[in-house]
């Protein structure tokens, strides 16, 4: 994917315009140094002889003038790395320079989501771009458009130079684009410990059971597990679309949700269904597979919208907005509940409103991370 896209939008930055080579000048002055007063080490303060180069220093300048000289100016469209592959550090074999989105791909993502009103999930799968990245692209392009409208200057030469020097994922219409891995399972803290969990040989132990074992929930009855096994797609669909409530274990403060199977926790559970369909009926009825995929995506986005609407309606129902005439501000009164259930027996429950009494706030403690974890636009 390490390929550059020629983009007419960005002004060209020719490498020949780069100015003086300060390093080579420096090396020249140092080799013909007898003319110049050079800083001397304190132990040889009366010495009049010039500086002697160390071996390492000499080899460094040899390299800079020989092999290194060709790296001084980047060739547009080629990686300016020592190895000429996407591994910039020869001694660190594991490090790979990941491609960034090209201008064309970035614009296409924005176009699909905003103008063609396609779902973020669908666009993410189609271009192999993480859903969070798709969201970020849409926000940033929106911001860029606004800056253009306001007549603000953009750092286009800088953008072009960066795009010339790092690998990018090009957008070629009709090609299958894979920018990054999009269906990685996030590591859940409950899965950190190693658990030795004895299971009888006669019992099947699947991902549902693994999740339950990690959260110390009792195993499900055979009847339910066999039903789940018969309809795996339907079971996962019910979980991801919020149709079956998530079970909880523990009491009061220790109450926590039972860990879901990995199939439900990945970003795109519907891709598993699609693969399963492809393997079973894909050879004979490829149209049917595509049809089902589209239906599933539509269903997902419809369900997402429904859930968002529900939350919005709940907020509106429980919030009273007052706009006094003599005030610049609006006052929003949210309903909260102060009761034995919310405050708890100690009066310090977290469901009740208000800052707590008698509990230190660690917000200024050393090492406390205050980086915001979400964006409200």
């Amino acid at each position: 994917m390490a390929q550059r896209i020629q983009n007419s939008l960005l002004p060209s930055l020719s490498s020949s315009t780069s100015t003086t080579s300060s390093l080579s000048r420096f090396s020249n002055t140092c080799t013909s140094s007898s003319l110049l007063p050079l800083p001397q080490p304190a132990s040889r303060s009366f010495s009049t002889s010039g500086c002697r180069q160390t071996r390492l220093r000499r080899t460094m300048f040899n390299w800079l003038e020989g092999k290194g000289a060709e790296l001084k100016h980047h060739v547009p469209g080629e990686l300016n790395y020592l190895t000429h592959t996407n591994k910039p550090f020869p001694l660190n074999e594991q490090y790979r320079s990941e491609p960034i989105l090209s201008e064309a791909l970035r614009n296409e993502i924005y176009d699909r989501v905003i103008r063609k009103k396609q779902s973020v999930r669908g666009v993410s799968v189609e271009f192999g771009v993480d859903m969070r990245r798709v969201g970020a692209v849409v926000r940033l392009v929106e911001l860029e458009n606004r800056m253009r409208d306001q007549g603000k200057s953009l750092a286009l030469p800088y953008a072009r130079a960066v795009h010339e020097m790092v690998p990018t994922t090009p957008y070629v219409e009709g090609d299958r684009i894979r920018h990054e891995s999009i269906n990685d399972l996030p590591v859940h803290r409950l899965t950190d410990p190693q658990i030795f969990y004895p299971v009888s040989e006669s019992r099947e132990f699947n991902r549902f059971d693994a999740g339950r074992a990690f959260s110390a929930a009792p195993a499900l009855p055979h009847k339910i597990t066999s039903e789940m096994k018969e309809q795996p797609d339907e079971t996962i669909r019910k979980i991801t679309q919020g149709l079956s409530p998530i079970e909880t274990v523990g009491k009061r403060e220790d109450e926590q949700q039972v860990l879901l199977p990995a199939d439900a926790r990945i970003p795109h559970p519907h891709m598993i269904v699609n693969d399963r369909n492809r393997l079973t009926i894909g050879k004979t009825e490829p149209k049917e597979v595509r049809q089902r995929y589209r239906e599933r995506l539509a269903q997902e986005s419809e369900r997402d919208q429904y859930r968002k609407d529900r939350i919005q309606q709940h907020l509106e129902r429980t919030t009273q907005k007052v706009e006094p005439e003599n005030s610049r501000f609006e006052f929003r009164f949210r309903d909260v509940v102060v009761s034995r259930e919310t405050t708890g027996p100690t009066g310090r429950g977290h469901l009740a409103p208000g800052r707590r009494y008698g509990i230190p706030s660690y917000d200024r403690k050393k090492g406390e991370v205050k980086i915001p974890t979400r964006v409200d636009v």
Binding site: R332, R334, D335, V336, V338, G354
Partner: protein, 105 residues
């Protein structure tokens, strides 16, 4: 002794945040109250999720959390709101506006 509904300041320097509390009138501002019935954030918040046109005309809002039934109960048993809380409770529609004596006379 009078029971008051008043504000107790939390938050840091230049970041005020208030609990709306029910407390004995003579107790210290930040002492433990009888009950916390809500919160008041006096720092105006910008509304989010708006279109460009809406964002121009939208008013900033001040966020208040309030348990109405507890507020009504405490008012019913004779708790006296402080001036600031009186204005908030009036806006929430729980009590009449406070009659301020005209200082001009």
């Amino acid at each position: 002794m009078v029971v008051r509904i008043r504000l107790a300041r939390f938050g840091n320097k230049h970041q005020p945040f208030y609990n709306i509390v029910v407390a004995q009138a003579r107790s210290a501002r930040d002492s433990k109250p009888i009950e916390v019935i809500g919160t008041f954030n006096p720092i105006p918040q910008r509304p989010t999720g708006l279109s460009d046109e809406q964002a121009i005309t939208a008013r900033s809002y001040k966020d208040i959390a309030l348990d109405r039934s507890r507020a009504k109960y405490w008012l019913g048993v004779g708790a006296q709101p402080s001036d600031g809380v009186w204005r908030l409770l009036h806006m929430a529609g729980l009590i009449e506006a406070k009659k301020v004596p005209n200082k001009m006379k």
